[in-house]
């Protein structure tokens, strides 16, 4: 590559027009997923199995909300109004994974979000650490530093619950759908937003590589827990034991088609009760 093909971009205006909207869409997707994941963590502050787990949920909620605030603010450079993004959109405009549409009704559901989806978001964020869009560099490092113990928390709970047959069954019920959703979230291998951003040097991996990194990260833990979702292939790499199913995939929103946030979640996440206090 010539120097001009690898040069960095300091503002959104410097980013080539053909990938500017893609980059904004990825940042918005990460912001929306983190905002909603933080909300899901916060819903267990008082209902977690132990006091320590409740405190951990509080800490992880704060981390995710902080990250989403950073990401929404970055979109100002792309001509977006962060206030509008945070408070005024309809459910169908949120670019969230379908796993966050409704609150999990059991602790195992939150463990699935924590161990699988939170890690998928981090794998995607990590792919931006050497992005040609330079404003991401420092922010990505800060986000990843704060994410360090999120997977540890998920891993610990998988180990804890995997000790009994009943616990493993409950985990299997929660993790199987989450596994499929996370696998797909990185996008179809043949093109799409993530592939275009990779080709333009905005991220360091395309969908297939990101999926492989995620499986490499979560596979050993899931396997140790006794869940048949990941297995080692002949080369010693962790692979999914579940076939990818693209039947209801909406490539534009990077989620299953048709659905969106439920009404209660939408009202809470955009702060409808506090609307009268919103000033400029």
């Amino acid at each position: 590559m010539s120097a001009s093909e690898t040069a960095g971009f300091r503002t959104a205006d410097d980013v080539p027009e053909e990938v500017r909207d893609d980059l904004a869409a990825l940042l918005l997707s990460l912001a929306d997923n983190k905002r909603l994941l933080g909300m899901r963590y916060s819903e267990w502050l008082l209902g977690a199995p132990t006091l320590e787990a409740g405190i951990a949920c509080s800490a992880m909620a704060q981390d995710e909300w902080g990250h989403s605030r950073i990401l929404y603010a970055m979109l100002k450079d792309f001509g977006e109004d962060p206030g509008h993004l945070e408070h005024e959109r309809e459910a169908a405009e949120y670019l969230n994974c379908e796993l966050l549409d409704d609150p999990p009704d059991r602790w195992t559901g939150l463990v699935a979000l924590n161990a699988l989806l939170d890690t998928a978001l981090s794998v995607q964020v990590e792919s931006l650490k050497d992005s040609r869009f330079e404003p991401l560099h420092y922010k990505v490092r800060k986000v990843l530093e704060e994410e360090r113990f999120h997977f540890e928390h998920g891993r610990g709970w998988l180990a804890r619950m995997g000790q009994t047959p009943a616990g493993r069954t409950a985990l299997e019920e929660a993790l199987s759908p989450a596994w499929q959703s996370c696998l797909r979230w990185f996008g179809a291998p043949d093109g799409g937003l993530i592939a275009r951003l990779h080709a333009a040097g905005m991220s360091d991996a395309g969908p297939a590589e990101l999926r492989a990194r995620w499986i490499q990260r979560v596979g050993p833990t899931v396997h140790e827990t006794g869940l048949g979702l990941a297995e080692l292939d002949e080369s010693g790499a962790w692979v999914s034991a579940m076939e990818l199913d693209w039947s209801d995939w909406d490539g534009a929103r990077r989620r299953s088609g048709g659905g969106s946030l439920n009404a209660e979640t939408l009202a809470a996440v955009r702060g409808d009760k506090n609307r009268t206090m919103l000033m400029d």
């Binding site: 199995p49 132990t50 006091l51 320590e52 787990a53 405190i55 951990a56 509080s58 800490a59 992880m60 360090r148 113990f149 999120h150 540890e152 928390h153 891993r155 610990g156 709970w157 180990a159 804890r160 000790q163």
Partner: protein
């Protein structure tokens, strides 16, 4: 702090600067080391720590006394 069955107490030690000594800063209840590490980091987050370690209370060998409070097993503290 109350704890579920299968949980153990972990003692937490930390230092803010490399030249500091590790100091005992608290305790968490957890079923395994992974959760003890996560809980310790997320609970005692008021400082920016240079180093933090956790150790199961069960690993402590009493030297001069074997009664409460410190050397009691978690089951006996309830």
């Amino acid at each position: 702090m109350g704890h579920l069955s299968g949980e153990h107490l972990y003692e937490i030690f930390a230092r803010q600067k490399r030249e500091d000594r590790l100091e005992h800063i608290g305790t968490v209840s957890a079923p395994n080391a992974a959760l003890a590490r996560a809980y310790a980091w997320q609970t005692y987050d008021e400082q920016k720590w240079f180093e933090m370690v956790v150790a199961p209370r069960d690993a402590f060998e009493p030297v001069n006394r074997d009664e409460e409070p410190f050397t009691l097993s978690p089951a006996a503290t309830r």
